[in-house]
């Protein structure tokens, strides 16, 4: 069979795993495609490469296509999020000066309780705490804002600046930022470099936050339905493969290669296993479902997720009122059903759900027999009803 090459841009992060595994473990080949994986130097570059047609698909921060549809940021090409590549996987951390002050106050770095963490931070700050994040449109920003608004930190208690993760250690040392929220392996890199300590996993704020999506140009998805389908199926199978802990050493080894993340496999394994070293003292914390690629219909692009993201963006950027249903259409539940139905993927019955109501793993009936939805809970027990979103 003659293989079609699909150029795909990605940032070298642990949550690019489904793309790398799809190519390396033969899931792409089984669909008659080869992924030409192009590591990008920045998120702007990933977006531009996709918008200008240098690549046909990309590993993208879930709020980017939503922000573009809302007219925010430097570009406005119509993009579609055809699946969610990963749920959660970020960490919030503090630089050494804040770490020292927190320790002096007896804070135990439990890496679990966002209310206690915020209270501890509020006690030791002199002014607003400056957080470095990789990009202005990111789950990192949305989770930080959500967390600060609902805790002792307060909405005005934090300032957010964009700092590319490879420069985060420098920015901390220069006093340009006090703390950070990044995706792995960058949190673990900061710990290993002695730049700071990890405070919380992203999952402590929202247990089911869509972190990265598989994005394509909307017109490409329309003119190349066959390729779109093959790409989506290859990546979905890679996500399923990643869900089996037996494959973890292989995954860590593959991702660690020079051509991909170029960091030791042990560092990648921390995120994949949820077994994180949170400080230079070697304190280790275990996090259930630190990053999820498959279970609980993790890759389903819920329209309600797009609406939640849009509601946060509107609040942060004070944008004009928007039509939530138009924005929700950026998350292509329709294409997901159309292209993955044939791969015997168990589909949820609806394409929207009330976000934040699932307290425990819940079995739901589906056409294929059954599906278990994972806990979907905000730390402050708020619920987000997409039908009521304005």
């Amino acid at each position: 069979m003659k293989h079609v090459t699909v150029p795909v841009a990605y940032m070298p992060l642990v949550d690019a795993a489904p793309l790398i595994i799809a190519q390396e473990m033969g899931f792409a080949e089984a669909e008659g495609i080869a992924l030409d994986l192009i590591a990008a130097p920045s998120w702007s570059s990933v977006r531009d490469m996709l918008a200008f047609g240098r690549v046909d698909a990309a590993h993208m921060l879930s709020p980017v296509p939503v922000a573009m549809a809302m007219g925010l940021g430097g570009m406005s090409t119509a993009l579609s999020a055809v699946s969610v590549l990963s749920v959660n996987g970020n960490v919030i951390g503090v630089g050494t000066p804040l770490e020292d002050r927190l320790r002096a106050n007896g804070y135990g770095f439990d890496f679990a309780d966002p209310v206690a963490a915020a209270e501890a931070l509020a006690q030791v700050r002199d002014g607003p705490i400056v957080f470095g994040v990789p990009f202005p449109f990111s789950m990192h920003v949305e989770l930080l804002r959500y967390w600060s608004r609902a805790t002792a930190l307060g909405a005005d208690g934090i300032v957010i600046r964009t700092v590319p993760p490879p420069l985060m250690a420098n920015a901390l040392a220069a006093g340009d930022v006090d703390a950070f929220c990044v995706g792995e392996p960058w949190g673990s890199v900061a710990v290993d470099e002695g730049a700071g300590a990890l405070l919380l996993p992203g999952t402590a704020i929202w247990t089911f936050a869509p972190e990265k999506v598989l994005a394509v140009r909307t017109d490409w998805a329309e003119t190349e339905p066959d390729l779109t389908g093959r790409l989506m199926r290859a990546i979905w199978r890679a996500g399923r493969w990643l869900a089996d802990p037996a494959g973890r050493p292989t995954a860590s080894e593959l991702l660690s290669r020079k051509a991909y993340l170029d960091v030791p496999p042990e560092l990648i394994d921390r995120a994949l296993s949820g077994h994180l070293t949170v400080s230079a003292r070697g304190e280790v914390r275990q996090v259930a479902r630190f990053v999820e690629f498959h279970a609980g219909a993790a890759s389903f692009p819920w329209r309600s997720q797009a609406k939640w993201i849009a509601a946060q963006l509107q609040q942060i950027h004070k944008t004009e009122p928007f039509d939530p249903d138009r924005i929700a259409h950026v998350f292509r539940a329709d294409l997901y059903r159309a292209h993955l139905g044939a791969a015997t993927v168990d589909m949820p019955g609806a394409s929207e759900k009330v976000e934040g109501v699932i307290r425990h793993e819940t079995a739901v009936a589906t056409a294929g027999g059954g599906l278990t939805l994972l806990p979907n809970r905000f730390f402050d027990d708020q619920i987000f009803d997409p039908g009521a979103a304005k």
Partner: protein, 194 residues
């Protein structure tokens, strides 16, 4: 009388920055500032209130520019990525040349064009030089590895240099690989067995 354009060039490498600034000053009546250090980039740029910001497309600090595109950001007049349809294929050409440009809202295309033409030519030249340098470095690196592999073979098999090279070349041809790759494999294996 139109106001003099203010251009900010974000570039760490001093020589490269000077080359770009000189070319821009020849091309238009403009004030050009260079920012070399990424610390606090968005605020440093905002302090110049620029009309145009030029940055290498491969520069990871580009993501710090995104804040400047927001109405709520540090600039009084936010900038947009240079992608206007009026510019035709120029945005594409700029990207191929490796320059990304951010242009302040409302600046007329006639004023942007000479700056972009110059920037595209200059960035393309810089990019080509960088590629050539990388190529030279790689070739040098490969030569070193081949020399080490030859040395290993000469010692292990008691043959002379020409025979060692011939053996490497034959192995590479038989396996359909590059001589440098065979040499690399040999050096790695010898290190492991060492």
């Amino acid at each position: 009388m139109t106001k003099t354009l203010t251009i900010v060039v974000v570039e760490e490498d001093r020589d490269r920055a000077i080359a770009i600034v000189d070319a821009l000053k020849d091309a238009c009546a403009c004030d050009v500032f260079v920012i070399g250090n990424a610390t606090g980039l968005a605020r440093k740029i905002a302090a110049h209130a620029p009309d145009i910001v030029l940055i290498d497309i491969d520069n990871p600090t580009r993501d710090m520019m995104e804040e400047l595109t927001l109405a709520s950001g540090p600039l009084e007049r936010p900038v947009a990525m240079f992608v206007s349809s009026a510019a035709g294929g120029m945005a594409q050409t700029a990207i191929e040349a490796g320059v990304s440009a951010y242009v302040v809202d409302g600046l007329s295309p006639e004023r942007v064009k000479p700056v972009m033409d110059t920037a595209i030519a200059r960035f393309a030249m810089v990019r080509q030089m960088r590629n050539e340098l990388a190529e030279t470095r790689r070739a040098l690196e490969e030569r070193k590895v081949i020399d080490r592999a030859k040395g290993l073979l000469m010692k292990a098999k008691g043959i002379d240099e020409d025979a060692a090279y011939a053996l490497l070349r034959k192995t590479a041809m038989d396996q359909g690989r590059r001589v440098a790759d065979v040499a690399e494999a040999l050096v790695t294996a010898s290190g492991l067995l060492g």
